[in-house]
């Protein structure tokens, strides 16, 4: 608890102020991010991008937002009204709340109050981020489900499957950080990255590498980076919103400010995961160069600059991906998540833990590590490349049209409108016979 003694000391006005500032910051950042994305993509595609509103078109997003506010607010006929309205609220609120434990900088003085540049910190801060981002999925699922539309439903299901799949990979990649830092508090993780790590190469001498976990725990960082793209439904993993397949995905039926809220949530999530990546792997708000090239770099308000610089770089990464890569196919995407990221991550955790134990525990020599890790690796290889792999068995039962129920499969067959009544007529006898079959005795 001592490590967090700096927190929880703020007066109420400071808490409120921090909250408001972070909120405004996120909204503004979103507007800027949208502009930034459009502009960057435009540059990549050698076109000007938004340039009418404000300098360099900076106010384009604001204009879009205002326009949305004055659009008609539609609620489809088949929608579950309450959930339909609730869904964007959940998405937005969760996205913003996640930011409460992101450290922007060290302890500074605000109107005479010594306070950290962070809304708050918890012993379980990382969990809070994960929890809120997981809760955000509810917004997506409920939004898609409550729309009463096939596209929305499929989009939301895909989104949910995607988010939870990549959440596993993301969660596992964080384990390595926790293992090294020994804490779940974000501020302490940042602090743990302060000191450089001395690597001893025996006769080759030793050198100090920066304490950033992105370098120390490179595999984790790579996995984290990949999985957050999937987690935020961004290209090339933007399958839930694949226009060519699903129109707009889960928010097909949303319009006006509700749509804007989803949009907001998505971009906030981008910022959040960038901030998380910064915090967990890139040294947080600490100055982006090893050593103290400038003694005051990590003091006062300067770190906020470093922090946002890092975020901007990461955001650019997002945009770059979008501008460069085509969209994945769904099966490719799921395969990447489940069959590559998860096992690689687990293996990496075991190896890392083995190395750490080996360095701490005298009885546990390097050969032991080699033995355990090696055998583990061997087993893995043996399992995954076992020669007699069975061909995939086609499911015995076709997925479509069971008893006249519409079963939206991957190869969605949309019944023509003229048959709607016929289908509904068929449903009754099918349901009636369903219960009598298999009667025994």
């Amino acid at each position: 608890m001592n490590e967090l003694s700096a927190f929880g000391q703020d007066p109420w006005w400071l808490i409120l102020a921090k909250g408001v500032v972070v909120f405004i910051l996120l909204v503004v950042l979103t507007l800027l991010a949208i502009w930034f994305e459009r502009k960057a993509v435009a540059w990549m595609q050698v076109r000007p991008g938004p340039n009418r509103h404000g300098p360099f078109g900076l106010l384009q997003s604001l204009a879009d937002g205002l326009k949305l506010a004055f659009k008609e607010d539609l609620v489809p006929k088949g929608a579950d009204r309450i959930v339909f309205i609730l869904a964007p609220v959940i998405s937005t609120a969760c996205a913003i709340t996640a930011f409460s434990v992101i450290p922007f900088g060290p302890v500074v003085s605000v109107f005479g109050h010594e306070t950290p540049l962070q809304v708050t910190d918890l012993p379980v801060a990382v969990l809070l981020v994960l929890a809120t981002s997981a809760l955000g999925v509810y917004g997506i699922v409920l939004g898609g489900w409550s729309s009463g539309s096939t596209y929305s439903l499929l989009g939301s299901l895909r989104a949910a499957a995607q988010v939870i799949s990549y959440e596993i990979a993301m969660g596992l990649s964080i384990v390595a950080v926790l293992l090294t830092a020994g804490t779940l508090s974000t501020s302490q993780i940042v602090a743990a990255q302060q000191a450089g790590q001395e690597i001893n190469l025996g006769t080759l001498g030793s050198f100090t590498i920066p304490g950033w976990y992105a370098l120390l725990l490179l595999p984790s960082f790579i996995v984290f980076a990949i999985s957050v793209v999937g987690e935020t439904n961004r290209a090339p993993f933007d399958l839930p919103e694949a226009e060519s397949e699903l129109v707009g995905g889960f928010h097909t039926e949303y319009s006006s400010l509700k749509f804007a809220l989803f949009f907001l949530a998505e971009y906030i999530n981008m910022v959040t995961v960038s901030a998380m990546a910064t915090t967990l792997f890139l040294g947080g708000w600490q100055a982006p160069f090893p050593g103290s090239w400038w003694p005051g770099a990590n003091e006062g308000w300067w770190p906020v600059l470093w922090f946002f610089l890092k975020i901007v770089v990461l955001m650019f990464g997002f945009v770059w991906l979008r501008g460069t890569l085509p969209r994945f196919r769904y099966d490719q995407f799921m395969r990447l998540g489940w069959k590559v990221l998860v096992p690689v991550n687990l293996l990496w955790i075991v190896v890392l833990a083995g190395i750490r134990v080996g360095s701490n525990e005298p009885a546990f020599s390097a050969s032991w590590i080699g033995l355990i890790g090696g055998s583990f690796l061997l087993v893995l290889i043996a399992i995954f490349f076992w020669p007699t792999r069975e061909p995939y068995e086609a499911p015995l039962e076709p997925d479509t049209g069971l008893g006249g129920f519409p079963v939206p499969p991957m190869d969605l067959k949309i019944p023509p409108s003229s048959r709607t009544k016929q289908i509904e007529a068929e449903r009754e006898p099918a349901a009636a016979t369903g219960t009598v079959t298999g009667k025994e005795d």
């Binding site: 608890m1 379980v124 076992w386 015995l396 039962e397 298999g438 025994e440």
Partner: protein
């Protein structure tokens, strides 16, 4: 301490020393289950059956042998032990390998082997009792297409998991381990119930009922654990007992926790009023699984009850705290009486052999509860009863699997009429088993009843014994009805035939019948064993 997570500079944690030899039966069974899963993953379909069968039987045999080695060694201590900061030993007995616990483990292992033999049977019904692809919708065309495929081999690892959970359940030293073990043995059973090859809908329905009610009961169990944790500030059975003795704590928590805990345990033991699932599930489940449940689950559930009540809530030898026994005993007596009576009476009205055996198993749960309530010296008698009942019921269900017609097992009693004409040997066996259930001397059923009732009377439970004997007269009626049908009735049209058992089922029947006779004729050796098992380790 307000935070769950330990910070890095915490003092190093003491780790328990583990007696791996004592733990080895559990490790082997659970480990073999994991290996079984891997085999499922890597072996081609054709080779899985043999590999799984060999693995399963070998693991169970090894577990039984090691348990016996431990018993002979006289290992009678907590498996986890460690030294506290001041040097004195501190218990962390998540697992307590005491005499009764190891005995129960061995019993579950042996009964499990027999049940696995039944599960492995593939000749009596082509492809076995289990469906090939459980995910295929029942009664669909695809289901008909797969009726010729050999059954799923996943049942073996599932069974092993279940048996491992049961073993752990009997030796758990704290309620948390007990809860985990409870789920480890229940969850595979839920699945296994739904895997019948024939009458899939019935089977799936049974699985759903069992699952929903089972989950309901385990929720009660865990809430009871929570309340008892609030009461005793620990979930170790011995600590709860300590807290019970010097009860400055809230009695409300204790009694509510005890009640909730009991609901979970009594559900598994199929005691009234938590028995409603039993007939349905026993009927719907594949018969080998029914046998497994009737034999092994019963052993585990009663084993758990015995341990909880003898270790945590018994406080024998301490008259000042005897009030607790006074608190729960009358209620349990009522439950035991209701279980015996309702089980017996309902059994009378049944027309399906599996349902009949299900109600009989409820009634037998009542007799076992008599042993639980009697506490103390009755532990040995209860163990004896479990052994006797387990073997008999296994053999009975094994025979049920053999009586078949074109629709699979013919379980309706009217179909059994006059079966003795066609296969007298089978009828003799079944009659013997029925007589054992009815408690006729020279069968294990009599020995078991005598053992339990005599020790219950020793403990002063007169009323229970009287209800017990009277209900067993009522219970004898359905068994006699079956015997009458077998021997004295005219065979029906297109009567089912008794399939020639293969090695597996034959062995199971033989083992069950042999145990029924041996425990009836010469029970002394088993009595010595249960006596030798001694008492639950409470200190």
């Amino acid at each position: 301490m307000n935070t769950l997570l330990l910070s890095a500079d915490m003092p190093t944690i003491e780790f328990p020393g583990i007696d791996y030899l004592a733990l080895s039966p559990l490790l082997i069974v659970i480990g073999a289950a994991c290996v079984g899963i891997l085999l499922e993953a890597v072996l081609p379909r054709g080779r899985r059956y043999l590999a799984q069968l060999v693995l399963t039987i070998a693991a169970l045999v090894a577990a039984v042998v090691l348990t016996i080695v431990n018993i002979v060694d006289g290992t009678n201590n907590p498996v986890f032990s460690m030294t506290g900061p001041t040097g004195e030993p501190v218990r962390v007995d998540a697992v307590v390998m005491d005499g009764p616990g190891m005995f129960l483990m061995a019993v579950i292992g042996v009964l499990g082997i027999i049940a696995v033999l039944l599960i492995a049977e593939r000749r009596v019904a082509a492809g076995g009792s289990f469906v090939a692809h459980a995910a295929v919708a029942a009664d669909s065309q695809a289901d008909a297409d797969q009726s010729k495929l050999p059954g799923a081999t996943e049942v073996f690892p599932l069974t092993l998991f279940s048996l491992g959970g049961m073993m752990l359940f009997c030796v758990s030293g704290d309620l948390l381990t007990m809860f985990v073990a409870l789920e480890v043995f229940s969850l595979p059973l839920y699945l296994l119930c739904g895997l019948a090859r024939r009458r899939r809908l019935l089977s799936q329905e049974a699985a759903m009922k069992y699952f929903l009610l089972g989950a309901f009961a385990s929720a009660f169990f865990v809430y009871g654990v929570a309340l008892l944790y609030g009461f005793a500030n620990s979930v170790q059975l011995v600590d709860i007992n300590t807290a019970v003795r010097d009860s400055g704590n809230s009695q409300v928590l204790l009694l509510a926790g005890l009640a909730m805990l009991s609901v979970g345990l009594l559900f598994k033991a199929a005691a009234v009023p938590f028995h409603v699932w039993t007939p349905d599930v026993y009927t719907g489940a594949p018969t080998p699984i029914t046998a497994l449940m009737a034999a092994c689950t019963k052993v585990a559930a009663i084993g758990g009850l015995l341990r909880v009540f003898n270790v945590a809530f018994a406080n024998s030898g301490d008259p000042s705290a005897a009030s607790l026994v006074w608190e729960w005993r009358p209620l349990f007596t009522a439950i035991a009486i209701a279980t015996m009576v309702i089980g017996a009476v309902m059994a009378v009205t049944q027309t399906d052999i599996k349902r009949l055996l299900a109600y009989s198993s409820i009634a037998n749960a009542g007799y076992l509860l008599v042993g639980v309530i009697a506490l103390g010296e009755a532990v040995g008698a209860t163990l004896f009863y479990l052994v006797a009942y387990g073997f008999t019921v296994l053999a009975a269900f094994a025979i049920v699997t053999l009586v078949r017609d074109s629709n699979g097992e013919a379980t309706h009693l009217s179909r059994w009429a006059g079966l003795a004409r066609r296969s007298p040997r089978f009828a003799v066996f079944f009659t013997l088993l029925m007589l054992a259930f009815a408690g006729i001397p020279l069968t294990s059923g009599f020995s078991a009843k005598f053992a339990v009732f005599s020790s219950a009377l020793d403990a002063g439970q007169v009323g229970l014994v009287i209800v017990g004997v009277l209900s067993s007269v009522v219970l004898a009626f359905p068994y006699l009805k079956v015997v009458v049908l077998l021997w004295l009735s005219e065979p029906v049209e297109d009567a089912p035939s008794v399939s020639l058992p293969s090695f597996f089922t034959g062995t199971a029947v033989a083992a069950g019948v042999a145990a029924t006779i041996i425990l009836g004729l010469a029970p002394q050796f088993m009595l010595n064993m249960v006596e030798g098992a001694g008492m639950f380790l409470a200190k």
